[in-house]
Amino acid sequence: MTWFIEELALFAPAIVFNIYFAVASIPLGFVAAVFLALGKDSANPLISRLSRGFIYAFRGSPLFIQFFMIYSLTLSFNISLWKPLGLSWFVLHPLFIGPLVLTLNTAAYTAEIFYGALRAVPRGEVEAARAYGMSRRQQFRQVVWPNLIRLAWPAYTNEVVFLFHATAIVYFALPVIGLQKDVMITAKELFERDYNAFLHFSVAALYFLAVSLVIFFLFGLVYKRLMRHMPAAPRMRFMPKWIR
């Protein structure tokens, strides 16, 4: 049993990096997604086209390639831009560029979810709000947004779990600084030492599974609160969906 606890302990510092990547990118991605979804729905053709293009590009290409591309692209601006600004150490740090790419990625996926929810907001409620003489801002704050977030929350939970899983490939694409290693790199290095694929990868999987369950639990609590006006609050189950 002690060997198992030792094995778990080996991964404990590593999971912090995966959690960091997820926590650093989810809030920003959320905010960006709201604007992108509104942009895609916008009547202004330019804004709509740009938002659509961004969402399509980042949903239509692999995150792995986005990492490589954005890292080498950022690197190519180092001498002309980041260095003179004194930002070089920061901009090219995996702990910055990792969340940056993840944010762009999750913003696109989340925006698509929010856009779908936005279209599903009952027309009648919006019209009623207009009839009350609400400004567009008020309409959004009081009517559209509460509807949207309730409709989107289960799918968004799913997206957050996917994003957390996506943090597993960060260090396959970015350089590793010192001892900053995530769960996947740790598992791979341990495997390369003693060949016990079943042990190391299972423990890594266990960590991912555990955090996924925690995410479901926390987002389930939020969902309950969002739906507290309903007679029987629907419960969320641990069920990563195929939709992404």
Partner: protein, 270 residues
């Protein structure tokens, strides 16, 4: 200008680039084979989940929830390694003798005769199988849901015609199920296409590995054209390639759904 054009043309058609273009076959193979296997595993998983026996139902739902609960890349790395070790373990139980076991100094495999050499073709097949297994878990859910969406009346009608349970399953239930499953399967297909970018992690010289090698800065004329870091240009090509594949897939699935949805109430098409 024409000199320039000729130079770039010959640069972009040198052997290294041709190998890069040729390596697209690995990606395409893995996507198609992985997609097909995903549907097969999905059907198997959904059948298990629909089973009358609790044990089989448990296997079906454990498979689909465990695999979906861990990152695809983890399973993608783990499965080929585990499969190789399992085959070698099986071989060891067949071919190893006490002498060869004693002669083996490395920790794995148990004896030299049980060793399994893995080259690109084997890895490619293993990669496709692991893509199939991972996304088969997603397809399980899609197909499970779709099978429950088939109107009960149709199944009853089939039974009333005197079809056996197997006939109902294969001739009516599964055939009618596709219409409901297609939108979900299209999503799963997109996930598989994007996951093919991970092939280089299994030592397959795929498009991503070549993009890195071609774009890496080069200072030695013996190696090829001397240039700075050009990687982002090559990755941009891959970025666009995948977007185009997504676009084409969407169109193809759209056409497929239209075809499959003929004669069916519009509620099935979404």
């Amino acid at each position: 200008m024409s000199d320039n054009l000729a130079f770039w043309l010959s640069y972009l058609t040198n052997g290294k680039h041709l190998t890069w273009y040729a390596s697209f076959q690995f990606t395409i193979f893995a996507a198609l084979a992985g997609g097909m296997l995903a549907v097969i595993f999905g059907l198997a998983g959904a059948t298990l989940k629909n089973s009358r026996f609790f044990a089989l139902r448990l296997i079906g739902s454990t498979y689909s929830s465990i695999v979906r609960g861990v990152p695809d890349v983890l399973f993608f790395l783990f499965f080929p390694l585990a499969f190789e070790q399992a085959v070698e373990w099986f071989m060891a139980s067949q071919v190893c003798t006490p002498e060869t076991l004693a002669a083996q100094s490395a920790t794995w495999p148990p004896c030299k005769e049980a060793n399994w050499f893995l080259g690109t073709p084997e890895y490619l097949i293993l990669a496709s199988v692991s893509l199939g297994l991972v996304y088969g878990a997603f397809a399980t859910n899609v197909i499970h849901g779709a099978m429950r969406s088939v109107p009960q009346g149709q199944l009853e009608a089939a039974r009333a015609y005197g079809m056996s349970a197997t006939q109902v399953l294969w001739r009516v239930h599964i055939r009618q199920m596709w219409v409901y499953a297609l939108p979900g399967l299209s999503n799963v297909w997109m996930l598989i296409v994007k996951a093919t970018s991970l092939l280089s992690l299994l030592q397959i010289a795929d498009i991503v590995l070549w993009a890195d090698r071609l774009g890496a800065p080069n200072y030695l004329s013996a190696v090829g054209l001397v240039h700075d870091d050009w990687r982002w240009r090559y990755y941009l090509v891959l970025f666009v390639f995948y977007i185009l594949v997504t676009f084409a897939s969407e169109k193809a699935f759209g056409a497929l759904m239209n075809r499959a949805g003929r004669g069916i109430l519009s509620e099935a098409r979404s």
